[in-house]
């Protein structure tokens, strides 16, 4: 890959933008300069159809004048001065908040495992070879297991934040992903999906293809579930992540909590989950997909307890929402959480790496052995329709496995699952296997979770 601008060059670009804004009348200013390059290989119908790559860079500029905040962005360095003018003009619309941009001089944590030179040096031919491994591995599990969608992507990026208040920090690193969506037309048509992401070159592409194919093979010959009703579920990390993204993630944002939009509004100090469950937002975990020493406005990051021993401990704040509600920032400013280049968005409090901890029962089989009657759930469709205020969900699962007396007894046809994520967290049976980083949902959130067993889901065949 072509190397993007390095941290030093980005910091110089950010500092230059800060000076430009100050010279045009800003009382305070802050620039977020980012640059990245990526390579991606698309697999369709079992073959590589496209190799894509590119580079992006830009600057997002915040200014404060008369206590009012303004923001504008530009991709072209020649238009930074125009962006500064626009940001100042927009600040006039903004309420007078008495807000001051975050101060510099903070001590940043050291976070390891964020950069792998092997990813930064990855050539298109290497990415294509990895995509080939995904396809071949699926086929080696079953000759008719076709990777109809997926591929391999890798990227390297950096961001620098500088401000008139003394902030001067750079973050960045590498990441890669391999994904396989397999369709197997054998006795019946079945599907399998696997996706792995990492900050390092350690994603095993062949393992991704093989795992998706094995899911599809195992899902052959599904029969209808005989009887529904309320039962336990053992949920795959990726499916659990989807359920949490639409429910718990929006509920732990400070602004939502203060406005009464969160399911957990006014519940700080109360029991919201089983006493054995804890939830953290951890931007300092080594190798975390969203880890870094600084948040997106230059505040040092830290591990924030959200739920500890089942008790709700707190919410996430960036500097502006913290100022608004008279609390301290939790170092949780994220730009572009809903997608899109970070430099095009103002910072807002959001989840980085949401870690759900529950007592381990050992491996997945050990967790399953604790369930008398229930389903092993690999996928949930429609998790985005969950209600973030009530935490209710109604999803379908395409290839559930029935569990009877602690044993998997066979794959079943699609079922509807209805329940409440809050109730699930209060009835957690335990965790199985190692936690896994699940990214690539509708937002930038990374959710770190093992297999989770819980009871009280209503299943309709």
């Amino acid at each position: 890959m072509r190397a993007p601008a390095d941290a030093e060059a980005l910091l110089a670009r950010a500092e230059d933008a800060v000076r430009t804004a100050l010279a045009r009348g800003a009382a305070q200013s802050e620039a977020f300069a980012a640059a990245g390059t990526f390579v991606g290989v698309d697999v369709e119908r079992g073959r590589v159809t496209y190799t894509v790559g590119g580079s992006e860079s830009g600057v997002g500029l915040r200014v404060v004048r008369d206590g009012r905040l303004g923001f504008a962005f530009a991709s072209d360095p020649a238009r930074v001065a125009a962006a500064a003018e626009r940001a100042l003009a927009l600040s006039r619309l903004s309420p007078e908040r008495g807000f001051s941009l975050p101060a510099g001089g903070a001590h940043y944590p050291v976070v390891g495992g964020l950069f792998d030179p092997r990813i930064a040096a990855m050539e298109p031919s290497e990415a294509v070879a990895l995509a080939g491994e995904v396809v071949d591995a699926a086929r080696s599990v079953h000759p008719d297991a076709i990777v109809v969608g997926g591929g391999v992507s890798a990227g390297v990026g950096a961001a620098a934040i500088a401000s008139s208040e003394g902030v001067s920090v750079a973050t960045g690193g590498t990441s890669m992903n391999a994904t396989a969506y397999v369709v197997l037309r054998d006795r019946t048509t079945s599907t399998g999906l696997e996706s792995l992401s990492s900050r390092g070159r350690d994603v095993d592409a062949a393992a991704v293809g093989a795992a998706a194919a094995r899911m599809a093979v195992d899902a052959q010959g599904a029969v209808p579930l005989e009887a529904g009703g309320e039962m336990a579920v053992v949920v795959r990390p990726t499916a659990m992540a989807e359920l949490l993204e639409g429910t718990v993630v929006p509920s732990v944002i400070g602004d939502a909590a203060q406005r009464g939009e969160s399911a957990w509004t006014g519940k700080a100090g109360e029991r919201v989950a089983s006493a054995e469950v804890s939830i953290w937002d951890d931007p300092v975990m080594a190798g975390g997909l969203n880890s870094g020493p600084s948040d997106d406005e230059g505040a040092p990051t830290r591990r924030n307890a959200l739920v500890e021993g089942g008790v709700l401990r707190g919410f996430l704040y960036d500097a502006l929402s913290a100022h608004e509600y008279g609390v301290a920032t939790t170092g949780s400013a994220v730009r572009g959480a809903g997608g899109g280049g970070g430099w095009k968005a103002q910072p807002d409090a959001y989840v980085t790496n949401l870690v759900l901890e529950a007592p381990s029962r050992g491996e997945l089989e050990d967790l399953v052995s604790e369930v008398d009657r229930g389903l092993l759930v690999h996928d949930v469709l429609g998790a985005h329709t969950a209600n973030a205020t009530t935490l209710d969900f109604s999803v379908s699962s395409t290839m559930p496995y029935e569990i009877r007396r602690g044993e998997l007894v066979g794959v079943r046809e699609p079922v509807m699952l209805a329940g409440n994520v809050g109730a699930l967290l209060r009835s957690v049976i335990g965790a199985g296997g190692a936690p896994r980083q699940c990214g690539g949902g509708m937002s930038t959130a990374c959710i770190v979770v093992p297999w989770i067993g819980a009871s009280g889901v209503v299943v309709t065949p």
Binding site: R2, V39, V41, E44, R45, R47, V48, T49, Y50, T51, V52, G53, G54, S55, E56, S57, G58, G70, F71, A72, F73, A74, S75, D76, R79, A82, A83, A87, A89, L90, R92, L93, S94, P95, E123, P124, S125, A127, V128, A129, A131, G132, I146, G149, V183, R185, T189, R259, G260, E261, G339, K344, Q346, L381, G382, H384, T385, T390, S394, S396
Partner: protein
């Protein structure tokens, strides 16, 4: 045409590419968001970038940058060529080729009638305050998020076949998301107006009218009762009808999904699949609709695609590559989210054609049924042809009359069964709400249609 970049396609061809195109995109945008009366977001920004696509011995490479300098062009040319050559190693025995399309030389700029750039941002904010006030009309409204966005896009496209195109358009959208609470229950409705064009897109309906509609709907939902479930006749409003034809039928007409074995419509062209009352078309030339454009992102002139005519499946939506693979003519269905995204087969404005009945006539004769309006999302399996959608609002229908409001209503079933069961189509076809369609990339789309009656619809609670 951007000179430094235009030259890349000829050089790619001389370097061994059988085809190359370069697409340069300039975007200027404004976005405002007001939450509970307070300005949360005011952003103005500008971005320019390009994407270079090359086809070398049947394999694609695509390189992009948001830097229009000559050095970035050089780097992209090298990268795209080396990526295409890398793809070849694993392309299998199916080289990509493109169906014939006339290389056009044209410049088309859809100038807005009322350019949003002429309206001072203070007045845009004042408009949002009116939207907010209208949304607050309901007694139990708790939170209102109102937003306004405009974007001006200009595209230049050059191909190694000689096409030289330049087109431009403006898009505007504004509205409010209204959340209400009462007795521990909550309900939310999004009301949004917009289209391709200028501020004239906010005239019919206005965002203020949409916010008022959303506010009234929230109040009704807070007092609504749980729905019945089972099979019953349903009257579907233009918004939900539009989303149904887009999600459950339109995606299955995308030729890339057909080729991938992910569409239940593969091998069914020419078959009578729906009621003879059903016409479905995708039309990027509809004046002012949110998904309109003059050329697709491969430079093929936009045109209406009749997908279903009197219940017969008549066409798929194509890129030049899928058209070549399926032996069809290109029909202008390749769209890219931005300069950094390669074109994919996409819909534009997907519409159910109009009929001859009034709304009252559709209700007439329904002894017990349901009227469903709008959507709050759902899921579709294009391979199996099944869908489940949550309606935004619903009412019972008894003895041909609208009755009590119902909440949390889901409409589900098989799309082909549903199209076969259409027994009456309204004459009140209109564009639905502006929306965005996600398929790895997000593009603005429109959809809509008339009120339509479906016998034997499957209705349930959510």
């Amino acid at each position: 045409m951007h000179e430094a970049l235009e030259g890349l396609v000829g050089r790619a061809a001389r370097g061994g590419a059988s085809y190359a195109d370069v697409r340069v995109l300039w975007v200027e945008m404004t976005s405002l968001e007001l939450k509970d009366g307070e300005l949360k977001q005011a952003i103005e920004g500008a971005e320019a970038g390009f994407g270079l696509r090359v086809l070398v011995e049947g394999s694609w490479g695509f390189a992009s940058a948001n830097d229009l300098g000559a050095a970035a062009g050089e780097a992209a040319l090298d990268a795209a060529m080396s990526m295409a050559r890398a793809s070849r190693a694993r392309a299998g025995g199916e080289p990509a080729r493109l169906a014939e399309a006339r290389p056009e030389v044209a410049e088309v700029v859809w100038e807005p009638r009322r350019d949003p750039r002429d309206l001072p941002i203070e007045e845009k904010l004042a408009m949002l305050r009116e939207v907010e006030a209208a949304a607050r009309a309901g007694e139990h409204v708790a939170t209102v998020t109102s937003s306004y966005a405009d974007a001006r896009r200009r595209v230049e496209l050059a191909t190694s076949e000689g096409a030289r195109l330049s087109w431009g358009l403006t898009r505007v959208v504004a509205g409010a998301n209204v959340v209400g609470r009462k007795d521990g229950r909550s309900a939310s409705v999004l009301g949004r107006a917009g289209g391709v064009g200028g501020l004239e897109c906010l005239e019919r309906p206005t965002p203020v009218e949409e916010a008022a509609r959303a506010s009234a709907a929230v109040e009704r939902l807070l007092d609504a009762t749980a729905p019945p479930s089972g099979r019953m006749p349903a009257v579907i409003d233009p918004d939900l009808a539009g989303v149904l034809v887009h999600e459950a039928f339109g995606h299955a007409c995308e030729a890339d999904l057909v080729l991938a074995g992910e569409s239940m419509l593969a091998d069914r062209l020419g078959q009578q699949l729906g009621s003879p009352l059903v016409d479905i078309f995708d039309d990027p030339t509809l004046d002012g609709a949110f998904g309109s454009f003059p050329f697709d992102d491969e430079g093929v002139r936009a045109r209406r695609k009749d997908l279903m005519v009197r219940g017969v499946l008549t066409a798929f939506i194509h890129s030049r590559e899928t058209a070549a693979r399926l032996g069809a003519a290109p029909n202008g269905g390749a769209r890219a989210q931005d300069h950094a995204s390669r074109p994919l087969v996409r819909m534009s404005n997907t519409m159910l054609g109009g009929g001859d009945r009034s709304f009252e006539e559709l209700l007439e004769g329904i002894k017990e049924g349901i009227y469903v309006k709008g959507t709050r999302g759902g899921q579709v399996d294009t391979a199996k042809g099944t869908f489940q959608f949550g309606a935004e609002e619903a009412f019972e229908v008894r003895g041909g009359e609208l009755g009590r409001p119902l909440r949390d209503v889901a409409l589900m079933g098989s799309i082909l069964d549903t199209l076969r069961n259409v027994d009456a189509v309204g004459k009140d076809a209109r564009n639905g709400s502006p929306g965005y369609c996600g398929k790895g990339q997000h593009v603005p789309v429109g959809d809509g249609g008339p009120h339509v009656r479906v016998l034997d619809a499957v209705v349930g609670g959510m």
